[in-house]
């Protein structure tokens, strides 16, 4: 048997043993799906709302409290006062390897801005608050590591205009923030 024939026969044999999941699979998936929040419809063509374009340069993700770890003595007075507006919204228990990161988006015309990322299970559960300058801000405890995120502006998903982003696997882009033990390394 030639090498090609052998490979072909092995491929055929492999094909013969592939089954895929049985009929109960769909029920198991749907049991999980029913527990999920209803998916948010993202209208076509408004990935970047018009009002955000002139403001793109102003949008940013910045380190707010470099090295200010939960539970450590490094937490400063300023961190306590500045995070008070969002602290009630932070669900996850802070851990020693967590850093506060401030997310900002300049969007004065928006009615509502939320943050979704791998740190929130991609659920838009982190609301940003609008300040007097028209910027939406949230300070979020984020574990050290590489994280992907997007803003959800009036139900439209929007990558951070201030960052390049990476393919999200769904035909769009995710923004990326790299968080080190002493704060944001790169965004």
């Amino acid at each position: 048997m030639s090498d090609d024939d052998k490979l072909q026969r092995a491929s055929d044999a492999m094909r013969a043993k592939l089954k895929g999941p049985d009929a109960s699979f769909t029920g198991r998936v749907m049991d999980q799906v029913r527990k999920e929040p209803r998916p948010v419809r993202v209208p076509r063509g408004i990935e970047i709302p018009r009002w955000s374009i002139p403001l793109a340069a102003a949008a940013a993700v910045v380190l707010y409290f470099a090295g200010a770890r939960f539970g450590s003595s490094a937490s400063s007075t300023s961190s306590t006062s500045s995070t008070s507006s969002t602290s009630s919204l932070l669900v996850a228990s802070p851990r020693p390897d967590t850093v506060y990161v401030r997310f900002e988006l300049a969007a004065p015309g928006a009615r509502q801005v939320k943050l979704a990322g791998d740190f929130s299970g991609w659920q838009p559960t982190v609301p940003l608050e609008k300040n007097d300058n028209g910027k939406w801000v949230a300070t979020v405890p984020v574990a050290v590591g590489v994280h992907r995120y997007q803003f959800v502006v009036d139900d439209a998903w929007l990558p951070d205009p201030a960052t390049g982003g990476v393919d999200d696997g769904f035909g769009g882009r995710n923004s990326v923030v790299v968080v080190g033990p002493k704060g944001v390394v790169r965004s």
């Binding site: 055929d12 013969a16 592939l18 999941p21 999980q32 799906v33 029913r34 035909g171």
Partner: protein, 173 residues
């Protein structure tokens, strides 16, 4: 009565009919499951990946730019997850070369051994090579279909399959 297309079902789900998502899961569970199984070499791991992928697809359904192309969009979620798992666990196929006893009994011993050899050899492939080899040579898909599903150019796919086969032929001799 004709079956509703993927686009109509996606819109139905986004309009609040959660149960309609089950039609998409049922429609693609076998097809996607077979690819995941071949890529990972492990039926249980493949099923876990597939389940996570469908749930991820549901969560992100509003971001599916073209609902009519749900299949290729969801397929990429599955293969992306398979590739991620392979990168994290490169040695996974080593433990997974066994053909379940019943299936082995249904298959000539020589074929069973060849399938096991191929699975071992596939551990030498990159996740991307493994993906295209499975689609082309195991699943028997056309390059046109692969290009549509993976959003890659046909020439690039041909080259990747050729390289994969070269590695496999060498590993199986």
């Amino acid at each position: 009565m004709t079956e509703a297309g993927d686009g109509a079902i996606v819109r139905q789900v986004l309009d609040g009919d959660t149960e309609a998502f089950g039609i998409l899961v049922e429609r693609y569970r076998i097809e996607f499951g077979r690819v995941a199984e071949a890529m990972l070499g492990d039926r249980d791991a493949a099923e876990d990946v597939l389940q996570e992928s469908f749930i991820s697809a549901y969560r992100s359904l509003g971001r599916c730019r073209d609902p009519e192309r749900f299949k290729s969009w969801a397929f990429r979620i599955v293969t992306n997850r398979c590739r991620d798992l392979l990168r994290k666990r490169p040695a996974i196929s080593i433990d997974l070369v066994e053909v379940p006893a019943k299936e082995a009994a249904d298959m000539p011993a020589e074929d069973s051994e060849l399938a096991a050899q191929l699975e071992r050899a596939m551990s030498r492939l990159t996740p991307e090579q493994r993906e295209v080899f499975v689609m082309k040579e195991v699943e028997g898909r056309s390059y046109e279909e692969m290009a549509e599903l993976l959003d890659l150019k046909i020439d690039a796919l041909r080259m990747r399959v050729m390289r994969a086969k070269t590695v496999l032929r060498k590993a199986m001799t």
